[in-house]
Amino acid sequence: MSDDVKNQRPVWREEFSVDAPEDAYVLRRQFTKFLVLTSAGMACGNGWIWLRSLTADARPAYPEVAIARASEIAAGAVRTFSYPRAQDPCILFRRSTGVLAAFSQKCTHLSCAVYYSAERDRLECPCHDGFFAPDSGRVLQGPPPRPLPRIRIEQRGDDIFAVGVEEGAEP
């Protein structure tokens, strides 16, 4: 085979003149553009949180819902209920001191259901051993990053009403 024939480009190459390595080449400005678009995406994320916080501040008052009768809950006893929506599980319990308290039942770590341990007087998450204080919901131990949301309750006669939710209750 002569050199002329060897060096001759195939005919299909004339028709389809795309070089794969060249196609995969990323320019510096393309890479920077990608970084800037990622940055814009994160700014949008922050904007979304800001908008959510605006609407959260304007949220109407929580409903008042009768959740239990005080006489039915002895010291160490627990009652579960949903508040403010049907898909928001909560836990109501009476401590050994006689004080009633209610919290969201979803652990702030990975949303496992927490339970009240009367013997240790604390709320416990069995998934990763996260413990919460029974008075404020603050984290005592474990991976939960935030306190449990506290459900505000009011006792009227023998009835106990849930009247609101306090996010991130401080000790």
């Binding site: 070089d19 794969a20 920077t32 553009k33 814009a40 922050n46 949180i49 800001w50 916080s53 990053p145």
Partner: protein
């Protein structure tokens, strides 16, 4: 373009890209911290965090424009492809 000028240009582009990456890491931290704070019920920081994040994006955009101009002004430093038995014309 002389080699010194080319080296300076390349350093400037590299520095700008590194700075964009640093700003991006700061933004990632800001986003996660803001989300954490929002979920904890502290809503007041969300507006400030958004303003800061937007500012960082604008700085990144300005750096991108700078990189683009420098990159275009100098042309490519090396052939875009050395692979393949043929040359694209």
């Amino acid at each position: 373009m002389n080699p010194l000028e080319r080296r300076r240009r390349r350093s400037a582009i590299g520095a700008a890209m590194a700075f964009v990456i640093v700003l991006l890491i700061v933004q990632m931290w800001l986003l996660t911290a803001t989300l954490e704070s929002y979920l904890a019920g502290h809503h007041s920081v969300a507006g400030i965090a958004f303003a800061v994040s937007l500012s960082l994006t604008l700085i990144c955009g300005a750096l991108y424009v700078m990189v683009m101009r420098l990159d275009r002004r100098g042309g490519t430093d090396s052939p875009r492809s050395s692979g393949g038995p043929w040359q694209i014309e």
